[in-house]
């Protein structure tokens, strides 16, 4: 019951376009989020996910509009609470593939409090953070990942706070699958998304997804020279120390899976416990009521 391995129905092989909903995105032309949603369609088709067993959950922000563009179940919740809603969906239907999408503001400002707990639980779901280092939807205020010294609408003399490193944070709170990719590379993205969805446990993918309107053209171009796409075999994903090294200290900005750990998921554990509680059979309400007889 708890197996989250995507339902595969070989009789019917979906194509990327099968996951596309006929609704015009509100995004600006050139927004990085188009790439992310396209990569998602591809991942879904690659895994041939059945749409009745797929739910995309988000908060509020430009990036959080994604569920609206996926032809499956979706929840465009309130700002910062996507992980809580997704947790509910997964607890209720462990057979559903749950993908959470949202922005840096949504996930790391107002939603920060939920991320470490999603990690600790290790429910089998995938969190894709579309990081444009700005609040897009509200038109250009600094976000928790905005670079130090950068000028934005709310830091006109430069941001005096230090940005969060989302990947480092994910490692430190025990996420069992941590990866980074970039919104301009659909192939890489969809490959990483695929591994993330296939991971048994909570997976986190950090996507650098540019905001053309409030961060200008080529937002991440200056990072390109530092970017390094990890080759298969180049990095031992089970090495926690090495994952830290690659995240914190390198001159290089590594793209790919940085860390992966095998661990029972929340539902697997809970089911063991539930069986233990039930001791063979479900109690009826009458049995429960009779416990109140003195």
């Amino acid at each position: 019951m708890s197996s989250n391995s995507p339902t595969i129905d070989h009789a019917c092989q979906h194509k990327p376009k099968d996951y596309k909903r006929a609704l015009k995105p509100v995004w600006c032309p050139g927004c990085g989020d188009y790439g992310v949603v396209n990569a998602l369609y591809k991942t879904m088709a690659d895994l041939n996910l059945q749409r009745e067993d797929l739910a995309v959950v988000s908060g509020i922000g430009c990036s959080s509009r994604i569920p609206g563009y996926v032809n499956a179940y979706g929840f465009n919740g309130v700002h910062g609470r996507a992980l809580t809603i997704a947790t509910g969906v997964k607890l209720a239907r462990p057979e559903t593939t749950v993908i959470i999408c949202g922005g840096d503001g949504d996930g790391l400002a107002i939603g920060m409090g939920h991320f470490p707990h999603a990690a600790r639980r290790n429910l089998n779901m995938t969190y894709i953070m579309m990081d444009n280092r700005i609040y897009g939807l509200t038109k250009g205020q600094m976000s928790p990942t905005t670079e130090h010294d950068l000028r934005t609408k709310t830091s006109t003399k430069g941001n005096i706070e230090q940005p969060i490193n989302p990947v480092l944070l994910a490692l430190s709170v025990g996420v069992t699958f941590v990866a980074r990719t970039v919104g301009t590379n659909i192939k890489h993205m969809s490959e990483i998304f695929k591994q993330a969805v296939e991971h048994n446990g909570f997976s986190f993918v950090h996507v650098l997804s540019p905001c053309i309107t409030f961060r200008g053209k080529g937002q991440f171009d200056n990072l390109e020279s530092r970017t390094h796409f990890l080759e298969p075999g180049e990095h031992d994903v089970t090495d926690f120390r090495e994952a830290h090294e690659k995240t914190m200290f390198g001159e290089k900005l590594y793209m790919g899976v940085l860390y992966q750990q095998k661990k029972e998921s929340f539902m697997q554990r809970y089911e063991t416990i539930r069986n233990d509680f039930m001791q063979g059979s479900r109690k009826t309400v009458v049995e429960v009521v009779d416990e109140f007889l003195p």
Partner: protein, 595 residues
């Protein structure tokens, strides 16, 4: 003197075992088929501070804790001083206190009357000398109570056996012996001939003993609860702690969330996914859930939220009761978001009303707040086993509902999640159902669920969401007591029922005043016509509740024409349940004014 109905208080410090003594008595009574009622109260210390129990035992149905205490068992006068305001004594009270409590007789914080009896008891000495274990003090006290006042001794012995059942035989024997030591001490005393005694009674079927929080949890299980998410908070944590094992035992899942926002987020997510879900919290938690509640309202997602009210504002008085969250329950979130507010009136009702919350929530796809409180949520009450759920079923107000899902032929690209329908409820799909995919959202949306800012659609959707109220009102229930033709009416809500009903009975018995009372279980939406009719057909109306700002009175006025002249507001806010005497005297006053 024999009484069919006794009030009793036990007061002491942490190690005194006050609470377990109290619980044993009530369960013993229940075991013999008697009615019981128990309130606990604690001082500010986290552990080991002063604690007290107020108990009522009766051969008839109990409505409230009863005003004045007939029997006070006090291990320590310093502790009693703290609770004095909460434990007023009956003019004929019998007081048992420890013979070597260091307080000087003159300093004992009791205004003795002639008719009171004060007996000094060697609690500690008996425990140490006769039993060699100071921890037996509370058990031997039970022996004293049984011996002196004819309390249900068989039940007490039985409870002791159950309680220590898993321990070594010596411990059971020690405690059984303690009862005997207590009794023997009493037999050695010379008691006045007509001293206070519980009247003889015939044993009957054992009754259930449970708290309102437990009853609410039972109601939820009965309705088919599958997912519970919660965050600890006094006085609501009991619900989560009880469900922690009972929910998986019955096949469901309980999760402790990182905060209250997450609790309700999880509930909404699970309900979106088609499972009956619930959370329970108290005032501060409800305040944090305000935004999420609006999400459930606009996305039309069933969700049940129990608020076990405590004293506010803010952190306030976490262990005291209050009915201070009514207006919040109705209006906490922004932007004309409709949701339902129900309130249970007693322990049994906690089960029935929670079940009703699920019924309405699932049927109308709307979030429901259940306004319980510390008084009803944490007190122990006896309930007839058959009545816990069954009675409500007979009366039609306990029902189950399984959510409407789209018909198979509607499960396609044209599925309209928010289709306009006659009763404003649209069949609701969820993950697992093929074809009827949609996106739930906090944005305004059209029938398909697509975001829109079209002014006309917005208005239509407001109409759809609020239109459900009309139908819910038609399904809503009232409790009513008293005489149909009485000119003096009382309106109250929630846990105020007990004290109000008792006061009505007393006013009739004592002063011959006939009254009637109407209590809506469903506070929002309100059956305005029914209440208007009640108000119009009374010469005067008392509106009674346990909060500071007369919230029920004000809330009623938003829709019901209740001119200030016709009404007597009775609202008290001191962390205590509404006092029966105050209600009774108010009835008398208003009645006299009417003459």
């Amino acid at each position: 003197m024999e009484c069919r109905d006794l009030t009793l208080a036990i007061v002491g410090s942490g190690g005194d075992g006050v609470v377990s003594a109290g619980e044993i008595i009530v369960k013993a009574a229940a075991h013999e088929g008697l009615h019981g009622f128990l309130l606990k109260s604690f001082g500010p210390q986290i552990r080991g501070g002063e604690s007290s129990c107020k108990i009522r035992l009766s051969q008839d149905k109990i409505l409230s804790i009863g005003e004045e205490t007939r029997i006070l068992m006090c291990y320590n006068w310093a502790d009693y001083r703290r609770f004095k305001a909460e434990i007023p004594l009956h003019p004929n009270a019998v007081i048992l206190s420890d013979e070597d409590d260091p307080v000087q007789d003159a300093d004992v914080p009791v205004e003795f009357t002639e008719d009171m009896t004060w007996i000094k008891v060697p609690f500690k000495r008996l425990a140490n000398e006769k039993l060699g274990n100071i921890l037996t003090k509370n058990i031997l006290s039970l022996g004293i109570l049984c011996g002196m006042f004819s309390l249900p001794k068989r039940g007490v012995l039985d409870q002791i056996r159950k309680r220590f059942g898993k321990k070594r035989q010596e411990i059971i024997d020690l405690n059984m012996n303690a009862i005997k030591v207590g009794e023997d001490w009493v037999f050695a005393q010379e008691l006045p001939k007509d001293h206070l005694r519980f009247a003889p009674y015939k044993e009957s079927e054992p009754k259930l003993v449970l708290t309102g929080n437990e009853a609410a949890s039972v109601g939820a299980l009965w309705s088919g609860l599958e997912i519970f998410a919660g965050y600890p908070i006094t006085p609501a944590s009991d619900v989560m702690e009880w469900l922690e094992h009972h929910l998986p035992q019955t096949g469901g899942t309980m999760i402790q969330a990182e905060d209250e926002i997450a609790s309700l987020g999880i509930v909404i997510g699970a309900s979106f996914a088609g499972k009956k879900s619930m959370t329970a919290t108290s005032g501060p938690g409800i305040s944090l859930m305000s935004e999420m509640l609006g999400l459930a309202a606009i996305a039309e997602i069933p969700a049940v939220v129990i608020n076990v009210q405590r004293g506010g504002p803010s952190t306030g008085l976490p262990t005291k009761t209050s009915q201070g969250d009514l207006l919040q329950a109705c209006f906490t979130t922004h932007g004309d978001a409709p949701h339902v507010v129900l309130a249970p009136t007693d322990v049994r009702d906690c089960a029935a009303v929670t079940a009703e919350a699920f019924y309405l929530s699932e049927k109308y796809q709307i979030p429901v707040i259940v306004l319980s409180d510390q008084f009803v949520g944490q007190r122990y009450e006896t309930v007839i086993r058959y009545e816990l759920l069954r009675e409500g079923i007979d009366k039609g107000y306990i029902r189950r509902y399984n959510r409407d899902v789209p018909a198979p032929e509607d499960c396609n690209e044209n599925y309209l999640r928010y289709k306009y329908t006659d009763n404003h409820v649209s069949p609701m799909s969820f993950p697992g159902i093929k074809g009827a995919y949609y996106v739930a959202s906090g944005l305004e949306h059209d029938e398909r669920g697509y975001p829109t800012s079209d002014v006309d659609v917005h208005l239509d959707m407001h109409n759809k969401r609020h239109g459900k109220f009309e139908h819910i009102v038609n399904e809503s229930f009232f409790r009513h007591y008293g005489h149909r033709d009485a000119r003096l009416g009382i309106l109250c809500w929630g846990s105020a029922k007990g004290p109000v009903h008792e006061a009505m009975l007393e006013a009739e018995e004592q002063y011959g005043i006939r009254t009637r009372c109407l209590i809506p279980t469903c506070l929002m939406p309100l059956d305005v016509e029914r209440i208007q009719h009640f108000v119009d057909s009374c010469a005067r109306v008392i509106i009674a509740e346990a909060n500071y700002s007369a919230q029920f009175y004000r809330y009623l006025r938003t829709m019901v024409d209740v001119s200030r002249k016709r009404v007597r507001q009775l609202n008290v806010s001191d962390g205590q349940p509404l006092p029966v005497d105050l209600v009774k005297e108010t009835i008398k006053e208003v009645h006299d004014e009417l003459q």
